[in-house]
Point group: C2
Chain length 102, copies 2
DNA sequence: TTTATATATGAATGTTTATTCATATATTCA
DNA sequence: TGAATATATGAATAAACATTCATATATAAA
């Protein structure tokens, strides 16, 4: 793995990127969407949280280009939109499971 | 890459883990330490921030077992203490550089 | 066109958290 | 032992942010 040089702007952006993963609601949304696309209500039910809270978080992930969506009638289906998201999620998960010897 | 099952506790811990990367000061510390161990003052000078602010952040990273340190006289040298930290940093960096077409 | 359903969003609230300031601790040197 | 240097830490402050509530928008169905 070659080390790439990162300037101040890169590092700021990098921390902003990781911030998206640093919230348990968003992490749980990402984990759920690893199975494939899901509607807003399906996500809210799965997480046992209000629709509004989920919509707010989806907005954040969508604006970060981590999610895309498609509309089908009244329903909007969200899906993961970045291979890196899966990879980073997976690597982080491996880390904590390994650290815990699971 | 095999998908591992994650329960609620795992996901909460995972988001806590990513939180460490989701702050520009901590990300800059991690980036600086990729070169090798550095003293607290060296870090503070490099980031152009106060010693106290750096100490507080080092404490957080140390308690998360992302850093270790050794003492040499009055000076304490910190270093990265986890291969995953490097990997995740690198993967995240590749992500944002790629997205920007850099 | 009224009603019902799915989603989005602005404002308010409460909580978390990064930094600063003042001070404490630890080590070295005179 | 006293002064100087490196680091740590508690308390205070300010900024960021997640959730809730109320409401808006969009689509479909009656």
């Amino acid at each position: 793995m070659k080390k790439k040089k990162a300037d101040l702007k890169d590092l700021f952006e990098l921390s902003e990127f990781f911030k998206f993963f640093g919230d348990s609601t968003r992490i749980r949304i990402i984990e759920f969407l690893r199975q494939g696309e899901q509607s807003v209500l399906a996500i809210a039910n799965y997480l046992e949280m209000g629709q509004s809270a989920i919509s707010h978080q989806l907005r954040i992930l969508r604006m970060a280009n981590l999610l895309t969506f498609r509309r089908e009638g009244k329903t909007i289906y969200y899906r993961l939109d970045d291979e890196h998201v899966e990879k980073i999620f997976q690597l982080g998960l491996e880390h904590i499971l390994h650290k815990r010897g699971k």
